[in-house]
Symmetry: C2
Subunit: 149 residues, 2 copies
């Protein structure tokens, strides 16, 4: 599940302090956020338009084309997508699994926020940021509240 080279990790963890665990976890999560955003978006684009072209990815993410090229190189290196130069992008099995997982989280967070009383637009924006940082336990509580709060 963890396609995470983690090349800059210390030989020996800097600290086993209890308080540092939360930050360690957050940094871990941050490293995967971009990959998750891309994979989720690629799945959406394929679903909506039959293919995921870099130009569409760039437009949706609000970044320039070369940024997308570089990011896709990294995703390919990590085994989440396959691609050929100047062609559309495809998800590997692993990428597809990650996309499903992301979509699931996103939907639960979104439904939860809307149920809480948030307007759809703000809910979408907040869900985008929150979805990468909720534990499975929190997700379960969100789902329960959304379903019958």
């Amino acid at each position: 599940m963890t396609h995470d080279p983690n090349l800059a990790a210390p030989a020996e963890p800097p600290s086993s302090d209890n308080r540092s665990e939360a930050f360690q976890g957050v940094r871990e999560a941050r490293r995967n956020e971009l990959a998750e955003d891309y994979v989720e978006l690629i799945a959406e684009l394929i679903h909506e338009h039959g293919e995921a072209r870099p130009v569409a990815i760039a437009a949706r993410l609000g970044v320039r084309a070369p940024t997308v090229t570089k990011a896709l190189d990294r995703l390919a290196r990590e085994g989440l997508i396959t691609r050929e130069p100047y062609r559309s992008v495809f998800l590997t099995e692993e990428g597809h699994a990650l996309a499903r997982e992301c979509r699931r989280r996103h939907e639960i967070v979104l439904r939860f926020l809307i149920r809480l009383g948030l307007d759809a637009e703000t809910a979408e924006r907040d869900a985008e940021g929150i979805e990468h940082h909720v534990s499975e336990q929190t997700l379960a509580l969100f789902a329960a509240y959304a379903d019958e709060g």
Copy 2:
């Protein structure tokens, strides 16, 4: 409020697409996360021990000392802290304001998660990640739920 050089921003925004706004916002938030974590932690350390030493910051964040030195340089450049070589760190007025704001968010998110039914440890970990990504609207709903849900 925004001490944000944003040097790599495009001359003309890549896209005004509605769907891209959420991602733009998340990227914006991500840029400030580290600074917020540091400032919040520095305030805590000062409160707990009377001073914030780099060695303590490194231990709490779970990173190495040079990482902290560099980050503190950046915070000083941004006007959030003041410091002298080999000495403890102090918050500027702006840094103090940001720390208060972060603490407020953190506490609301934490209280909310615990009220939802999460155990304290997981709540702490999730709050650390979530606090940077909640809008003022969501925060208000969280607070309301925590106070009398």
